[in-house]
């Protein structure tokens, strides 16, 4: 539902059904709402059966990359030789994204149930939930839920009397965006500096403590109990456009819409419907200028590009951007695109882990150039320079943070060139860039 707004008729509330319902937070409350039935069912199934069911549902990673979840699980060794681990990525830090926080805040047991099913499916006995450090109340809620789950046998040495051991550890991050990258997260859990690792080896081969590891996003794992309870056919049926994108997706809409919030849509819902119907459209007297559809790391879309764009993995890619994490930033005609892009670049410059040269130096330099343009001190050749730096920063580093900084810069220059030129030609008064 479009929390904090009441559910819109065009939404499909599955994960978000109990947002705002504090009663769903407790173990008892969650069971009353049909919770933990999925886990009980899963415990009666074999690893392969669960993986097949999830594969058949078409569920894809909701953290941003959209990798098929069932396939990811099937990469884990059949024989458990070294311990297997499940890591739940709750380090939601992508600017514009705030869906996982709501899942944890209102339905922590929904997440824990999904975690336990996934752990069972990949042969793991231990779950690490890596929660963003700034999520203080959510951390408290999740920790209480874990205790509650242990007390009621949903976690522990003998989950619901099945003989299966599943433990959960809540690990709190320390505020670094990069720790949301899966290999950096593993380093962070191990107590090391949160630097992304070189792949290969992939986590399914050598992840946490060099053991086979699966990392899934909060939203992905939270969808799993529903798939087991209602079947893969039902989930697959939640599709309005491309059959490769199934189920529901939480979209965190922020920016210049009348009703920002978390909207749970069926995959393939037209983007216009989301913005104009569910979110109530633009503020009075304003018109849509640009949309960042999937968190700050994806290319910016223009108003024209969203005209007939379905909200699913393929639909947005066809328009030159990505569904990403579903963090949608809507900007109206009052927006200064140069300023917005500078803010994004500044974020990435601050969060670069400093390993790779292009990222460490490139993000900071890009920010400086954008600040200079805004301050009215830009040079005509700055545009070419920004594009060339972006090229040098794309596809050349260990992780994609550097690419994520370059993507919005390139797309903004390509689509809103006039705004850059206005500063460069001194047609526009310099802006205050702050610090």
């Amino acid at each position: 539902m479009g929390y904090p707004h009441p559910s819109h008729a065009k939404e499909t509330p599955v994960l978000s059904k109990y947002f705002g319902d504090a009663g769903a937070r407790t173990f008892e409350g969650w069971v009353k709402r049909g919770g933990y039935e999925g886990l009980k069912k899963a415990l009666g199934m074999s690893r392969e059966q669960i993986i097949e069911e999830v594969k058949a549902s078409g569920l894809r990673g909701r953290g941003g990359a959209g990798f098929p979840t069932g396939m990811k699980w099937s990469f884990m060794a059949k024989e458990v030789v070294k311990p297997h681990y499940l890591v739940c990525n709750a380090d939601e830090s992508e600017p514009g994204t705030f869906k996982d926080r709501e899942i944890i805040r209102w339905t922590p047991h929904q997440l824990l149930e999904g975690c336990a099913i996934a752990a069972h499916a990949i042969g793991a006995e231990r779950i690490y939930v890596y929660i963003r450090g700034e999520f203080t109340p959510e951390h408290r809620i999740l920790t209480a839920a874990v205790e509650d789950a242990y007390k009621n046998g949903a976690l522990g040495a003998n989950v619901f009397g099945s003989g299966r051991r599943i433990d959960a550890v809540v690990h709190r991050g320390a505020g670094a965006y990069i720790c949301g990258e899966e290999t950096a997260m593993m380093n962070s859990i191990e107590g090391k500096r949160g630097n992304p690792r070189i792949k290969p080896p992939f986590p399914a081969v050598a992840g946490l403590w060099a053991c086979p590891t699966t990392i899934n996003n909060v939203e992905t794992l939270s969808a799993v109990p529903h798939i087991l309870m209602r079947g893969s056919e039902w989930y697959k049926g939640l599709c309005l456009s491309n059959p490769k994108s199934t189920g529901t997706k939480l979209i965190s809409v922020c920016g210049h819409v009348q009703k920002p919030g978390n909207y749970e849509i069926t995959m393939g819902t037209p983007m216009k419907e989301l913005i104009y119907d569910m979110c109530g459209g633009m503020r009075p007297g304003r018109s849509l200028k640009a949309v960042i559809p999937g968190g700050s790391s994806v290319p910016i879309m223009t108003a024209a590009e969203i005209e007939d764009c379905p909200m699913d993995y393929e639909g947005i890619v066809a328009k030159g951007s990505m569904l990403g994490s579903g963090g949608m930033i809507v900007m109206d005609d009052s927006t200064d695109m140069v300023y917005q892009v500078m803010r994004l670049a500044r974020f990435y410059a601050h969060e670069s882990c400093a390993q790779c040269t292009q990222c460490r130096e490139g993000t900071a330099w890009t920010t400086k150039i954008l600040e200079r343009i805004l301050a009215g001190k830009g040079k005509p050749e700055d545009i070419e320079l920004l594009l060339d730096l972006a090229d040098n920063m794309t596809g050349k580093t260990i992780c994609v943070l550097s690419d994520s900084c370059a993507a919005p810069v390139v797309s903004a220059i390509k689509k809103f060139r006039g705004e850059f030129d206005a500063y460069l030609s001194r047609m526009k008064r310099p802006a205050t860039v702050g610090a």
Binding site: I198, E351, C353, A354, T357, W365, N392, K396
Partner: protein, 519 residues
């Protein structure tokens, strides 16, 4: 037999063992892929992104340091894409790198200079922003960290973590604010810490000992072997105008890989000492008179030809040639040969490299002496010297008590380097060269026979000890190579070996030698 794979790099096809990285395979093909963070003796983090190369069929450029070769792979290190990526990295590295090359110790041997010269941009696009500033930090006994020059390759951090295994360095801060930090309250005081200076590809970690001492391009370099202990680490002696200014490790994967310990590194100032014996001194009555070599060699020849009981008291850093030729000189005597081997309390191992340590036996040629029949029972030999017909001292400094005992001999000949080694009672005091002033061979604790080369000219009339013995005894050798060949034939394990067989990295021989004293 390891599996070989065939890979084509810049048009040259080479066969390399399976699992080889592209960067190492490229060396086989005669191609040096520019790099900063990669080092063959450290784990590869692939962070500098300088070694990105184009691999056919790969979707993007691959880091050559961590990408292993595959059979039939075709690699282009100099394609337009690869070159642009490198030029891009160089530009990124330079935007925050100070232009203080004129006062930087690394200038002339700086990889940032080299690659920028090779393929960097010819002008900056950075504009007039101030560069990142961090103050210079004193990391410990010999190491300064000039943060402004740092390119964050993290070689130093990895050396301390994985090789020295004393993890005191770290990357502090993030983004372009990052710098190398040292843990609170810690010092870079590991016995092998000085290697971080050599590992640093730029002038960020520098040696206080070498600070502003000489420009790299003014140095002459000579391959040598460290005299600090019996490990026999391969070193380079760097000289400027005949003065030794520093020792650096010379790679030898079987002995010291790319490292030397700080004890060895700092063990060079004595090579420049001015208080040297510079001319042969012959005793005339109660005093010594300087002379030319000819009368001195004649007198030594006469003393040696007399036969009787002879004692040689030699330094553990005397060359195999010197020890062997002195032995050959005394062939008509009953000779007691002894070598002085200082022993330290403990070893200082380098944890990450097997069989590499600063050894207790603090001399380079203990095993060479043992192979030639030299005893390590110094006290017994000194006692025997008091009743000997001839005592030859080879570059040793005796205590007063030892000198008194030696004074009881019929004749004493001092082959010495330093003033203070000469004895009033000596018949002859002859100036000899140090390890830095001669060609020679040491045998390390693993019986690796290794050559060292002359790095500076000897003062005055000083000559190699082997030459003195050879001339006095009218023996054949007139070059170090000939002396080695003669001496090698005195030892069954070395028989037939020549300088040519030893190469730059030495040769291990098999022989039974008495175990080192107290080890």
């Amino acid at each position: 037999m390891t599996d070989l794979v065939s890979v084509t790099i810049d048009g040259m096809t080479v066969q390399v063992p399976k699992g080889t990285s592209i960067i190492e395979a490229a060396k086989q093909a005669g191609v040096l892929v520019p790099h900063y963070c990669y080092h063959p003796s450290l784990p590869s983090p692939a962070v500098c992104r300088m070694c990105l190369v184009e691999v056919e069929k790969a979707p993007k450029l691959m880091p050559a340091c961590v990408t292993t070769v595959m059979d039939g792979q075709v690699v282009h290190t100099d394609s337009e894409q690869a070159r642009k990526a490198r030029t891009g990295v160089l530009e990124f590295l330079l935007i925050n790198h100070p232009l203080d090359c004129p006062i930087c110790d690394q200038a002339g041997e700086c990889e940032l200079q080299d690659y920028t010269f090779q393929e960097g941009r010819d002008s900056t696009r950075y504009g007039d922003y101030a560069k990142r500033y961090n103050p210079v930090e004193d990391f410990g006994p010999d190491v300064l960290y000039v943060a402004n020059r740092c390119i964050l390759c993290t070689r130093c951090v990895r050396f301390m973590d994985d090789v020295a295994r004393q993890p005191v360095l770290n990357v502090s801060e993030r983004g372009d604010r990052a710098y190398i930090g040292i843990d609170e309250g810690q010092l870079l005081d590991h016995a092998w810490a000085g290697n971080v200076v050599d590992l640093c590809p730029v002038g960020s970690l520098i040696s206080k000992d070498f600070l502003h001492k000489a420009r790299a391009w003014d140095l002459d370099k000579s391959a040598s072997v460290c005299t600090g202990c019996s490990q026999g680490c391969n070193v380079m002696i760097d000289t400027r105008d005949n003065t030794v200014v520093r020792l650096r490790p010379r790679p030898n994967l079987d002995v010291n890989r790319h490292f030397i310990c700080d004890h060895g590194r700092m063990n060079y100032r004595w090579m420049n000492r001015g208080d040297r014996i510079e001319a042969p001194l012959l005793r005339e009555g109660s005093r010594h008179v300087a002379s030319d070599w000819a009368p001195a060699l004649v007198r030594l020849g006469e003393l040696a030809a007399k036969g009787g009981k002879a004692v040689v008291l030699a330094s553990g850093n005397a060359s195999l040639e010197a020890l062997g030729m002195v032995k050959a000189l005394l062939k008509s005597s009953t000779a007691t040969l002894a070598v002085q081997l200082p022993m330290a309390e403990s070893e200082e191992p380098l944890g990450g490299v097997p069989n590499l340590a600063l050894r207790r036996e603090r001399a380079a040629n203990g095993d060479g002496a043992r192979l030639l029949g030299y005893s390590t029972d110094w006290q017994a030999a000194v006692k025997a010297a008091s009743a000997a017909d001839l005592v030859i001292l080879l570059d040793v400094t005796l205590t007063d008590a030892e000198a008194a005992l030696v004074g009881g001999a019929m004749a004493v000949v001092v082959l010495g380097t330093l003033l203070g080694q000469e004895l009033p009672a000596a018949q002859l005091i002859l100036p000899v060269t140090t390890v830095a002033e001669e060609h020679g061979v040491f045998v390390n604790r693993d019986l690796r026979v290794q050559r060292y080369q002359q790095a500076r000219t000897a003062p005055g009339l000083a000559r190699p000890a082997w030459w003195i013995a050879s001339e006095a005894g009218r023996l054949e050798p007139s070059t170090a190579a000939e002396a080695f060949a003669l001496v090698a034939n005195l030892v069954p394990a070395l028989a037939g070996l020549t300088y040519g067989d030893l190469g730059l990295t030495g040769r291990v021989v098999r022989a039974a030698v008495p175990s080192p004293q107290g080890a």
